[in-house]
């Protein structure tokens, strides 16, 4: 035997290329590690954490300011013309036309806006993934019907229909209005998610690893749960994180138009509705600014997640 053959047998074929000793890091964890290197995304997370703390700490603000939730100070907080007073020592972010503390309302409103945005996004994601996977994986007539259904939902003038639904079923309690708002938002947001998931599933179905599973005798349910769903984690996470800001804005829009969250429950949208922009700019800037900050942070975070999951960022050339 020549030296060449000896050596070829002696060196194990899978010897480590130097400098790679990472132990079993999952693609998800790799993406998260990349996300932590994205300054924009980290800043967004910080902003979101602050806003969430703001929402959670709403009662604290109420006790610090001494203005409990829902309390009205028609005399203290309004001038002699009956107009709300601007930011001052007592009312840090001013007062609204009913004489309520805008800071306290904004904090409680944050709870509603975040809750509605996140809950609606989760609901839309669950419906979207279910419909998308069913349409994409089963195919045939089921797919044809579901796909057309998605098209119909997407082609509706959603705001108009949402207003019609919200006014037709005008709920009696504020909690029901909350539920209705979440449902309406989810119904009009799931289709975009379902459509993308369906496309992903159809392309995954053609992958060789699915064929490999089939040739081993794996059943449809097993393939769906073991092989397809884990591969949807990345696109669904990205989409869901981008769905939250749109849902928050959707809620704000509905509430602004008076068909979303019903008073006296505050949300940023209904606070904007209360605003008299000509004289009391803080009524516009406080909820508007919070809305802008939140949606911006969610969008930047979503962008960051997308970049982190994008296989292209695994390439040699770093993004400029």
């Amino acid at each position: 035997m020549s030296l060449t053959e000896l050596a070829a047998d002696a060196i194990p074929a899978d010897e480590e290329p130097s400098g790679r000793k990472i132990q079993g890091r999952s693609p998800f964890r790799l993406a998260m590690a990349r996300l932590m290197h994205d300054k924009m995304a980290v800043a967004s997370v910080v902003v979101l954490v602050l806003i969430i703390l703001f929402a959670i700490g709403a009662p604290l603000f109420a006790s610090w300011t001494g203005h409990p939730y829902g309390a009205q100070y028609p005399d203290l907080a309004r001038d002699s013309w009956g107009l709300p007073k601007g930011p001052s020592k007592d009312f840090w972010l001013g007062a609204d036309p009913l004489g309520r503390d805008v800071l306290v309302r904004a904090a409680y409103g944050a709870r509603i806006s975040l809750f509605v945005g996140i809950a609606a996004s989760i609901l839309a994601t669950v419906i979207g993934v279910t419909v998308g996977v069913l349409a994409g994986y089963i195919g045939g007539a089921v797919d044809a019907i579901l796909a057309r259904f998605m098209d119909v939902v997407l082609s509706f003038p959603y705001l108009l229909v949402a207003i019609v639904i919200a006014t037709t079923f005008r709920p009696h309690s504020t909690w029901l209005s909350l539920l209705l708002t979440i449902t309406v938002i989810a119904i009009f947001s799931f289709a975009a998610m379902a459509r993308i998931v369906r496309g992903q599933v159809i392309s995954l179905k053609e992958k060789e690893f699915i064929e490999a599973a089939r040739s081993l005798g794996a059943g449809r349910v097993r393939i769906m749960f073991v092989d397809i769903l884990p591969n949807l984690v990345a696109p669904v996470t990205v989409l869901a994180s981008l769905l939250v800001p749109t849902s928050i804005v959707f809620e704000a829009t509905l509430s602004f138009l008076g068909v979303g969250i019903q008073p006296p429950m505050p949300s940023w949208g209904s606070m904007l509705n209360d605003a008299d922009y000509r004289s009391s700019l803080w009524l516009l800037f406080v909820p508007g600014g919070l809305l802008l900050l939140t949606t911006l942070a969610f969008n930047l975070l979503g962008d960051g997640i997308r970049d982190a999951f994008d296989p292209r960022s695994e390439r040699l050339i770093t993004r400029k």
Binding site: S2, L3, T4, E5, L6, A7, A8, A10, I11, P12, A13, D14, E15, P17, S18, G19, R20, R34, H37, L316, I317, T318, K320
Partner: protein, 345 residues
């Protein structure tokens, strides 16, 4: 003076994992009408090097010199490079779809390219030239096919159209990056044949980048074997096949069925995997996979030295140990025995 003279070209990229040294010092030259084959596996730097010459590697850190007719391509600004790309140097890629715009007619794209570089040519004349070119590369009924879109062409025809485009401005140098890899064997034969014939006709210099030693055997005058970002052997195609000096080249030949290893015998693979370009091994980058690695190979990087007239090899083995024959094998084994005991004693 050579048409293109590249000296000590280095290309690296910053990534989140570290600095990837894609090309780690590459020197070669090519004369008019000649064909230089650059052969190597994925990650050997064979494509990155030529793309860098053409200014197609944004974000890369580049050093060295690349004189094209005396002008350094590496110091040119994008505008100057644009004037070189096309009329002076043109490129053919593996996937013609990536370089033909899907929404414009093939003929229109050739016309636009001609007129972008030669504004005095009228539209009608440019079109006439496009038809001529398409006919020359073997597109049937070129006067009609000139108005087709790329998707109406077959894979082989698209590659022909790419070649027509590359020839449109009569460049002095064509860089072909795996032009036949995506094509079927019988179509590959057509395209190689066409490129050879056109090259002779126009006296164009050709850099052929490939992983296929068969393509090299067909048309390369000179061959550069790349490994881990460096040329390890530089010679003509005959002495590469019959008298390769570097163990990597020899290993390649032994591991393909149509090479020295095949026809009944057992293939002898090269053990292991190519190294990481972020932290290449010290000494000779091939030593972890090399059956002849001596002590010096682990420490000292071998320079590309002349082992015979016109034959360079970056390997510490004795110059005479060339080829796959038994005598050369004996020479190598002796050297290895000596090279390993020296330190062991």
């Amino acid at each position: 003076m050579s048409l293109l003279e590249v000296t000590d070209l280095k290309v690296s990229f910053n990534t989140s994992d570290g600095v990837v040294q894609a090309v780690r010092g590459m020197t070669f030259s090519i004369d008019r009408g000649k064909t230089l084959g650059i052969v190597g596996e994925s990650g050997s730097g064979k494509s990155v090097s030529t793309q860098t010459l053409m200014g197609l590697t944004p974000g890369a850190k580049v050093s060295g010199q690349a004189l094209f007719e005396g002008q350094d391509l590496l110091t040119m600004n994008p505008d100057q490079l644009r004037r070189i790309r096309g009329p002076q140097i043109s490129m053919i890629f593996q996937d013609p779809l990536s370089s033909l715009h899907p929404l414009y007619k093939v003929g229109w794209q050739i016309v636009e390219m001609i007129r972008a570089h030669e504004p005095n040519v009228s539209k009608a004349d440019a079109r006439k030239r496009a038809v001529e070119l398409l006919g020359m590369v073997g597109i049937p009924q070129p006067d009609r096919r000139v108005d087709d879109y790329p998707h109406q062409f077959s894979g082989g025809m698209r590659q022909r159209a790419m070649i027509a485009m590359a020839l449109a401005l009569n460049p002095k140098l064509i860089i072909a990056d795996e032009p036949t890899t995506a094509l079927d064997a019988t179509v590959q034969a057509q395209i190689l044949d066409l490129m050879l014939r056109l090259q002779r006709e126009f006296d164009t210099a050709l850099i052929m980048i490939t992983h296929d030693l068969g393509v090299i055997a067909d048309l390369a005058d000179d061959v550069l074997v790349m490994y881990a970002g460096k040329p390890v052997e530089h010679t003509d195609r005959r002495s590469l096949y019959y008298g390769s000096h570097h163990p990597y080249s020899a290993g390649l030949l032994r591991s393909i069925p149509s090479g020295a290893g095949g026809r009944g015998g057992r293939l002898i693979p090269i053990a292991g995997q190519p190294p990481s370009l972020i932290s290449p091994p010290p000494g000779c980058s091939f030593h972890p996979r090399c059956p002849y690695a001596m002590d010096t190979c682990r420490v000292n990087e071998p320079p590309l030295r002349e082992v015979a007239a016109g034959h360079g090899s970056a390997c510490w083995l004795p110059k005479e140990a060339r080829g796959l024959g038994p005598e050369a094998e004996q020479l190598r084994e002796n050297a290895v025995a000596e090279g390993r005991t020296e330190v062991g004693a």
